[in-house]
Amino acid sequence: MSLVVALFTLITVTAGAFFFLAGTVGLLRFPDTLTRLHALTKADNLGLGLVVLGLLPWADGLFSALKLVCIWLLVQFAGATAAQLIAQLVRRGRSHA
Protein backbone atom coordinates (compact mmCIF):
# COMPACT_ATOMS: atom_id res chain seq x y z
CA MET A 1 0.00 0.00 0.00
CA SER A 2 2.66 2.48 1.07
CA LEU A 3 4.66 1.58 -2.05
CA VAL A 4 1.66 2.44 -4.24
CA VAL A 5 1.26 5.78 -2.42
CA ALA A 6 4.98 6.51 -2.74
CA LEU A 7 4.87 5.73 -6.46
CA PHE A 8 1.80 7.95 -6.88
CA THR A 9 3.61 10.83 -5.13
CA LEU A 10 6.76 10.26 -7.13
CA ILE A 11 4.86 10.39 -10.43
CA THR A 12 2.65 13.40 -9.64
CA VAL A 13 5.41 15.53 -8.06
CA THR A 14 7.78 14.73 -10.95
CA ALA A 15 5.06 15.67 -13.42
CA GLY A 16 4.49 18.91 -11.44
CA ALA A 17 8.20 19.70 -11.54
CA PHE A 18 8.13 19.05 -15.30
CA PHE A 19 5.36 21.63 -15.73
CA PHE A 20 7.38 24.18 -13.73
CA LEU A 21 10.38 23.46 -15.93
CA ALA A 22 8.29 23.77 -19.12
CA GLY A 23 6.72 26.99 -17.80
CA THR A 24 10.16 28.44 -17.07
CA VAL A 25 11.47 27.51 -20.51
CA GLY A 26 8.37 29.12 -22.04
CA LEU A 27 8.84 32.25 -19.93
CA LEU A 28 12.38 32.59 -21.20
CA ARG A 29 11.83 31.64 -24.85
CA PHE A 30 8.32 32.69 -25.92
CA PRO A 31 8.26 35.75 -28.20
CA ASP A 32 5.83 38.19 -26.50
CA THR A 33 4.31 39.06 -23.13
CA LEU A 34 0.95 37.31 -23.64
CA THR A 35 2.47 33.95 -24.61
CA ARG A 36 4.96 34.24 -21.74
CA LEU A 37 2.05 34.86 -19.35
CA HIS A 38 0.36 31.76 -20.75
CA ALA A 39 3.45 29.66 -20.00
CA LEU A 40 3.73 31.11 -16.49
CA THR A 41 0.11 30.53 -15.49
CA LYS A 42 0.19 26.95 -16.79
CA ALA A 43 3.15 26.25 -14.50
CA ASP A 44 1.22 27.71 -11.55
CA ASN A 45 -2.01 25.86 -12.30
CA LEU A 46 -0.83 22.40 -13.23
CA GLY A 47 2.65 22.35 -11.70
CA LEU A 48 1.58 23.40 -8.21
CA GLY A 49 -1.67 21.42 -8.55
CA LEU A 50 0.22 18.20 -9.26
CA VAL A 51 2.75 18.83 -6.46
CA VAL A 52 -0.12 19.42 -3.99
CA LEU A 53 -1.95 16.35 -5.26
CA GLY A 54 1.16 14.26 -4.75
CA LEU A 55 1.67 15.55 -1.21
CA LEU A 56 -1.98 15.06 -0.12
CA PRO A 57 -1.58 11.38 0.96
CA TRP A 58 1.30 12.44 3.27
CA ALA A 59 -0.61 15.28 4.90
CA ASP A 60 -0.83 15.21 8.70
CA GLY A 61 -4.59 14.65 8.99
CA LEU A 62 -7.59 16.11 7.17
CA PHE A 63 -6.93 19.76 8.17
CA SER A 64 -3.38 19.74 6.83
CA ALA A 65 -4.67 18.29 3.56
CA LEU A 66 -7.30 21.05 3.40
CA LYS A 67 -4.59 23.65 4.06
CA LEU A 68 -2.57 22.32 1.11
CA VAL A 69 -5.63 22.54 -1.17
CA CYS A 70 -6.35 26.08 0.14
CA ILE A 71 -2.78 27.16 -0.67
CA TRP A 72 -3.24 25.88 -4.22
CA LEU A 73 -6.57 27.71 -4.58
CA LEU A 74 -5.11 30.99 -3.22
CA VAL A 75 -2.16 30.78 -5.61
CA GLN A 76 -4.69 30.24 -8.44
CA PHE A 77 -6.53 33.43 -7.49
CA ALA A 78 -3.36 35.50 -7.11
CA GLY A 79 -1.79 34.14 -10.29
CA ALA A 80 -4.90 34.58 -12.42
CA THR A 81 -5.42 38.15 -11.19
CA ALA A 82 -1.79 39.13 -11.74
CA ALA A 83 -1.93 37.64 -15.25
CA GLN A 84 -5.12 39.63 -16.02
CA LEU A 85 -3.57 42.87 -14.73
CA ILE A 86 -0.39 42.42 -16.77
CA ALA A 87 -2.44 41.52 -19.86
CA GLN A 88 -4.53 44.70 -19.37
CA LEU A 89 -1.34 46.77 -19.30
CA VAL A 90 -0.12 45.08 -22.48
CA ARG A 91 -3.42 45.81 -24.22
CA ARG A 92 -3.15 49.47 -23.25
CA GLY A 93 0.24 49.46 -24.88
CA ARG A 94 2.29 50.52 -21.88
CA SER A 95 4.10 47.30 -21.17
CA HIS A 96 6.25 47.09 -18.05
CA ALA A 97 6.72 43.34 -18.36
Binding site: L74, F77, A78, Q84, L85, Q88
Partner: protein
Protein backbone atom coordinates in the same frame (compact mmCIF):
# COMPACT_ATOMS: atom_id res chain seq x y z
CA UNK B 1 20.21 20.37 11.55
CA UNK B 2 23.99 20.46 11.14
CA UNK B 3 24.47 18.95 7.68
CA UNK B 4 23.96 21.39 4.82
CA UNK B 5 21.95 19.81 2.02
CA UNK B 6 22.27 20.49 -1.69
CA UNK B 7 18.94 22.41 -1.93
CA UNK B 8 20.11 24.72 0.89
CA UNK B 9 23.35 25.49 -0.94
CA UNK B 10 21.34 26.14 -4.10
CA UNK B 11 19.04 28.48 -2.15
CA UNK B 12 22.01 30.40 -0.73
CA UNK B 13 23.57 30.77 -4.18
CA UNK B 14 20.22 31.91 -5.57
CA UNK B 15 19.87 34.58 -2.83
CA UNK B 16 23.40 35.84 -3.50
CA UNK B 17 22.76 35.86 -7.25
CA UNK B 18 19.49 37.79 -6.96
CA UNK B 19 21.13 40.24 -4.53
CA UNK B 20 24.01 40.88 -6.97
CA UNK B 21 21.57 41.31 -9.87
CA UNK B 22 19.41 43.74 -7.85
CA UNK B 23 22.48 45.84 -7.08
CA UNK B 24 23.79 45.77 -10.64
CA UNK B 25 20.57 46.42 -12.59
CA UNK B 26 20.11 50.05 -13.72
CA UNK B 27 16.31 50.27 -14.05
CA UNK B 28 14.54 51.19 -10.77
CA UNK B 29 11.45 49.07 -11.54
CA UNK B 30 13.56 45.97 -12.27
CA UNK B 31 15.62 46.57 -9.13
CA UNK B 32 12.47 46.64 -6.96
CA UNK B 33 11.20 43.39 -8.50
CA UNK B 34 14.62 41.88 -7.78
CA UNK B 35 14.41 43.16 -4.19
CA UNK B 36 10.99 41.51 -3.69
CA UNK B 37 12.24 38.18 -5.07
CA UNK B 38 15.32 38.50 -2.84
CA UNK B 39 13.12 39.02 0.23
CA UNK B 40 10.95 35.98 -0.52
CA UNK B 41 14.03 33.78 -1.04
CA UNK B 42 15.51 35.13 2.18
CA UNK B 43 12.28 34.18 3.98
CA UNK B 44 12.76 30.60 2.73
CA UNK B 45 16.29 30.65 4.17
CA UNK B 46 14.95 31.79 7.55
CA UNK B 47 12.50 28.86 7.45
CA UNK B 48 15.41 26.50 6.80
CA UNK B 49 17.20 28.01 9.84
CA UNK B 50 14.10 27.34 11.97
CA UNK B 51 13.36 31.04 12.55
CA UNK B 52 9.71 31.02 11.44
CA UNK B 53 8.92 34.36 13.14
CA UNK B 54 11.71 36.09 11.24
CA UNK B 55 10.64 34.40 7.98
CA UNK B 56 7.05 35.62 8.37
CA UNK B 57 8.20 39.18 9.06
CA UNK B 58 10.69 39.13 6.19
CA UNK B 59 8.06 37.90 3.72
CA UNK B 60 5.30 40.26 4.87
CA UNK B 61 7.20 43.45 5.74
CA UNK B 62 10.73 43.12 4.35
CA UNK B 63 9.66 41.87 0.95
CA UNK B 64 5.96 42.65 0.40
CA UNK B 65 5.40 45.98 2.11
CA UNK B 66 8.84 47.51 1.54
CA UNK B 67 8.66 46.34 -2.07
CA UNK B 68 5.38 48.19 -2.53
CA UNK B 69 6.79 51.33 -0.88
CA UNK B 70 9.80 51.20 -3.20
CA UNK B 71 7.57 50.67 -6.26
CA UNK B 72 5.61 53.80 -5.39
CA UNK B 73 8.78 55.77 -4.67
CA UNK B 74 10.27 54.63 -7.98
CA UNK B 75 7.17 55.65 -9.94
CA UNK B 76 7.15 59.03 -8.17
CA UNK B 77 10.84 59.62 -8.88
CA UNK B 78 10.32 58.72 -12.55
CA UNK B 79 7.44 61.20 -12.86
CA UNK B 80 9.48 64.14 -11.55
CA UNK B 81 12.45 65.72 -13.30
CA UNK B 82 15.74 64.99 -11.51
CA UNK B 83 16.94 68.21 -9.87
CA UNK B 84 20.32 67.03 -8.60
CA UNK B 85 23.10 65.46 -10.64
CA UNK B 86 23.48 61.67 -10.20
CA UNK B 87 26.07 60.76 -7.53
CA UNK B 88 29.65 60.96 -8.81
CA UNK B 89 32.14 58.12 -9.01
CA UNK B 90 33.84 59.07 -5.72
CA UNK B 91 30.56 59.09 -3.78
CA UNK B 92 29.53 55.72 -5.22
CA UNK B 93 32.95 54.26 -4.43
CA UNK B 94 32.71 55.55 -0.84
CA UNK B 95 29.25 53.95 -0.47
CA UNK B 96 30.55 50.65 -1.88
CA UNK B 97 33.55 50.66 0.50
CA UNK B 98 31.36 51.41 3.54
CA UNK B 99 28.84 48.69 2.60
CA UNK B 100 31.64 46.17 2.00
CA UNK B 101 33.19 47.06 5.39
CA UNK B 102 29.90 46.46 7.22
CA UNK B 103 29.38 43.16 5.34
CA UNK B 104 32.96 42.05 6.10
CA UNK B 105 32.54 42.96 9.78
CA UNK B 106 29.32 40.95 10.06
CA UNK B 107 30.87 38.02 8.16
CA UNK B 108 33.91 37.95 10.45
CA UNK B 109 31.62 37.91 13.51
CA UNK B 110 29.65 34.97 12.10
CA UNK B 111 32.75 33.06 10.99
CA UNK B 112 34.88 33.79 14.09
CA UNK B 113 32.49 34.41 17.00
CA UNK B 114 34.07 35.57 20.26
CA UNK B 115 34.93 32.65 22.65
CA UNK B 116 31.68 31.39 24.14
CA UNK B 117 29.20 33.57 22.22
CA UNK B 118 27.27 35.77 24.68
CA UNK B 119 23.65 34.61 24.90
CA UNK B 120 20.60 35.52 26.93
CA UNK B 121 18.65 32.59 25.47
CA UNK B 122 18.89 30.33 28.58
CA UNK B 123 17.73 33.17 30.84
CA UNK B 124 14.85 33.98 28.48
CA UNK B 125 13.82 30.33 28.26
CA UNK B 126 13.94 29.99 32.07
CA UNK B 127 11.65 33.00 32.57
CA UNK B 128 9.16 31.95 29.86
CA UNK B 129 6.65 30.29 32.26
CA UNK B 130 6.30 33.58 34.20
CA UNK B 131 4.78 35.26 31.14
CA UNK B 132 2.26 32.48 30.47
CA UNK B 133 3.30 32.51 26.79
CA UNK B 134 4.45 29.55 24.69
CA UNK B 135 6.34 31.48 22.01
CA UNK B 136 9.69 32.75 23.32
CA UNK B 137 9.88 35.36 20.52
CA UNK B 138 6.65 37.00 21.67
CA UNK B 139 7.88 36.85 25.29
CA UNK B 140 11.07 38.69 24.31
CA UNK B 141 9.18 41.26 22.25
CA UNK B 142 6.46 42.07 24.75
CA UNK B 143 7.88 41.21 28.16
CA UNK B 144 11.70 41.04 28.34
CA UNK B 145 12.38 43.75 25.75
CA UNK B 146 9.00 45.50 25.82
CA UNK B 147 10.56 48.97 25.75
CA UNK B 148 12.21 48.25 22.38
CA UNK B 149 8.93 47.08 20.89
CA UNK B 150 7.13 50.14 22.26
CA UNK B 151 9.70 52.43 20.64
CA UNK B 152 9.34 50.52 17.36
CA UNK B 153 5.64 51.33 17.39
CA UNK B 154 6.41 55.01 17.96
CA UNK B 155 8.97 54.97 15.11
CA UNK B 156 6.31 53.56 12.76
CA UNK B 157 4.01 56.45 13.71
CA UNK B 158 6.84 58.96 13.18
CA UNK B 159 7.45 57.47 9.72
CA UNK B 160 3.80 57.97 8.84
CA UNK B 161 3.92 61.57 10.13
CA UNK B 162 6.98 62.06 7.90
CA UNK B 163 5.03 60.77 4.88
CA UNK B 164 2.01 62.93 5.71
CA UNK B 165 4.19 66.02 6.07
CA UNK B 166 4.88 65.78 2.31
CA UNK B 167 1.26 66.78 1.63
CA UNK B 168 0.56 70.09 -0.10
CA UNK B 169 -1.13 72.68 2.15
CA UNK B 170 -4.40 72.51 0.22
CA UNK B 171 -4.56 68.74 0.53
CA UNK B 172 -4.00 68.54 4.29
CA UNK B 173 -6.70 66.55 6.03
CA UNK B 174 -7.83 64.93 2.77
CA UNK B 175 -7.41 61.37 1.54
CA UNK B 176 -4.33 59.86 -0.14
CA UNK B 177 -4.78 58.71 -3.73
CA UNK B 178 -3.69 55.22 -4.64
CA UNK B 179 -1.37 54.67 -7.60
CA UNK B 180 -3.80 52.81 -9.86
CA UNK B 181 -7.24 54.08 -10.77
CA UNK B 182 -9.73 51.61 -9.38
CA UNK B 183 -10.92 49.48 -12.31
CA UNK B 184 -14.45 48.78 -11.22
CA UNK B 185 -15.61 45.30 -12.20
CA UNK B 186 -12.10 44.31 -13.34
CA UNK B 187 -9.87 41.47 -12.19
CA UNK B 188 -8.49 43.47 -9.25
CA UNK B 189 -12.01 44.24 -7.99
CA UNK B 190 -12.85 40.53 -8.23
CA UNK B 191 -9.79 39.63 -6.14
CA UNK B 192 -10.58 42.46 -3.72
CA UNK B 193 -13.98 40.87 -3.11
CA UNK B 194 -12.78 37.24 -2.87
CA UNK B 195 -9.51 37.45 -0.95
CA UNK B 196 -10.07 39.80 2.05
CA UNK B 197 -12.52 37.49 3.91
CA UNK B 198 -9.86 34.73 3.76
CA UNK B 199 -6.99 37.13 4.44
CA UNK B 200 -8.67 38.73 7.46
CA UNK B 201 -9.17 35.31 9.06
CA UNK B 202 -5.53 34.38 8.33
CA UNK B 203 -4.27 37.74 9.69
CA UNK B 204 -6.27 37.42 12.92
CA UNK B 205 -5.13 33.81 13.29
CA UNK B 206 -1.47 34.79 12.87
CA UNK B 207 -1.92 37.47 15.58
CA UNK B 208 -3.77 35.12 17.97
CA UNK B 209 -1.45 32.15 17.54
CA UNK B 210 1.57 34.42 18.17
CA UNK B 211 1.21 33.85 21.92
CA UNK B 212 2.21 30.19 21.63
CA UNK B 213 3.47 29.65 18.07
CA UNK B 214 5.29 31.68 15.40
CA UNK B 215 3.22 34.75 14.54
CA UNK B 216 2.22 37.93 16.31
CA UNK B 217 1.02 41.49 16.00
CA UNK B 218 3.46 42.65 13.31
CA UNK B 219 2.95 39.69 10.97
CA UNK B 220 -0.81 39.56 11.50
CA UNK B 221 -1.05 43.34 11.12
CA UNK B 222 0.94 43.23 7.88
CA UNK B 223 -1.49 40.65 6.42
CA UNK B 224 -4.50 42.75 7.50
CA UNK B 225 -2.95 45.90 6.01
CA UNK B 226 -2.43 44.04 2.71
CA UNK B 227 -6.12 43.08 2.69
CA UNK B 228 -7.18 46.67 3.40
CA UNK B 229 -4.90 47.96 0.63
CA UNK B 230 -6.30 45.36 -1.77
CA UNK B 231 -9.86 46.44 -0.94
CA UNK B 232 -8.93 50.12 -1.49
CA UNK B 233 -7.06 49.37 -4.75
CA UNK B 234 -9.97 47.31 -6.08
CA UNK B 235 -12.38 50.14 -5.29
CA UNK B 236 -14.31 48.01 -2.77
CA UNK B 237 -13.33 50.24 0.19
CA UNK B 238 -12.78 54.00 0.07
CA UNK B 239 -9.50 55.60 1.15
CA UNK B 240 -10.17 57.45 4.43
CA UNK B 241 -9.20 61.13 4.82
CA UNK B 242 -6.26 61.53 7.20
CA UNK B 243 -8.26 63.84 9.48
CA UNK B 244 -10.71 61.01 10.22
CA UNK B 245 -10.92 60.62 14.03
CA UNK B 246 -11.56 56.85 13.98
CA UNK B 247 -8.56 56.35 11.70
CA UNK B 248 -6.28 58.35 13.99
CA UNK B 249 -7.52 56.39 17.00
CA UNK B 250 -6.68 53.13 15.19
CA UNK B 251 -3.19 54.49 14.38
CA UNK B 252 -2.28 55.34 17.99
CA UNK B 253 -4.23 52.55 19.77
CA UNK B 254 -1.26 50.17 19.99
CA UNK B 255 1.32 52.67 21.23
CA UNK B 256 -1.21 54.33 23.57
CA UNK B 257 -2.32 51.11 25.23
CA UNK B 258 1.32 49.97 25.49
CA UNK B 259 2.27 53.27 27.18
CA UNK B 260 -0.76 53.22 29.50
CA UNK B 261 0.00 49.64 30.57
CA UNK B 262 3.65 50.58 31.03
CA UNK B 263 2.82 53.56 33.26
CA UNK B 264 0.31 51.50 35.24
CA UNK B 265 3.21 49.14 35.91
CA UNK B 266 4.67 51.78 38.31
CA UNK B 267 1.75 51.26 40.68
CA UNK B 268 0.80 47.61 40.25
CA UNK B 269 4.18 45.99 39.58
CA UNK B 270 6.84 48.45 40.84
CA UNK B 271 8.40 49.23 37.45
CA UNK B 272 7.73 50.81 34.07
CA UNK B 273 6.38 48.22 31.62
CA UNK B 274 6.28 45.50 34.30
CA UNK B 275 3.23 43.24 34.37
CA UNK B 276 1.55 42.21 37.65
CA UNK B 277 2.04 38.53 38.42
CA UNK B 278 -0.57 36.26 36.87
CA UNK B 279 -1.93 38.92 34.50
CA UNK B 280 1.04 39.00 32.14
CA UNK B 281 -0.48 36.90 29.36
CA UNK B 282 -3.86 38.67 29.36
CA UNK B 283 -2.17 42.11 29.26
CA UNK B 284 0.24 41.03 26.50
CA UNK B 285 -2.60 39.67 24.34
CA UNK B 286 -4.53 42.92 24.91
CA UNK B 287 -1.56 45.07 23.87
CA UNK B 288 -0.92 42.80 20.88
CA UNK B 289 -4.57 43.12 19.77
CA UNK B 290 -4.35 46.92 19.82
CA UNK B 291 -0.94 46.76 18.12
CA UNK B 292 -2.33 44.54 15.35
CA UNK B 293 -4.95 47.19 14.54
CA UNK B 294 -2.36 49.99 14.66
CA UNK B 295 0.21 48.10 12.58
CA UNK B 296 -2.41 47.25 9.94
CA UNK B 297 -3.59 50.88 9.70
CA UNK B 298 -0.07 52.40 9.78
CA UNK B 299 1.44 50.08 7.17
CA UNK B 300 -1.50 50.51 4.77
CA UNK B 301 -1.37 54.31 5.07
CA UNK B 302 2.42 54.33 4.64
CA UNK B 303 1.88 52.68 1.25
CA UNK B 304 -1.08 54.94 0.41
CA UNK B 305 1.21 57.97 0.81
CA UNK B 306 0.57 61.61 1.67
CA UNK B 307 -2.92 63.12 1.30
CA UNK B 308 -3.32 64.18 -2.34
CA UNK B 309 -6.92 65.41 -2.42
CA UNK B 310 -8.48 68.36 -0.63
CA UNK B 311 -11.15 67.80 2.01
CA UNK B 312 -14.67 67.87 0.62
CA UNK B 313 -16.71 70.09 2.92
Amino acid sequence: MTAISAPDIGLVLLVLGVAAWTTAVRDAFAAVIGFVAYGLLLALLWVRLGAIDVALTEAAIGSGLTGMLLLRAGARAKATQPTAAPPGKLLRLAAAVLCATVAAGLASLVLYPPGPAPSLAPAAAASLPATGLGNPVTAVLLAFRAFDTFLEKVVLLLALIGVWSLAADGHWGGAPTLPWPADRGGALTFLAKILPPVGIVVGLYVFWTGADHPGGAFQGGAILSAMWLLAMLGGVASVPPVEDAALRLALVAGAALFLATGLAGFWVADAFLAYPEGYAKALIIGIEAAMTVSVAATLALLVAGPPARGVRR
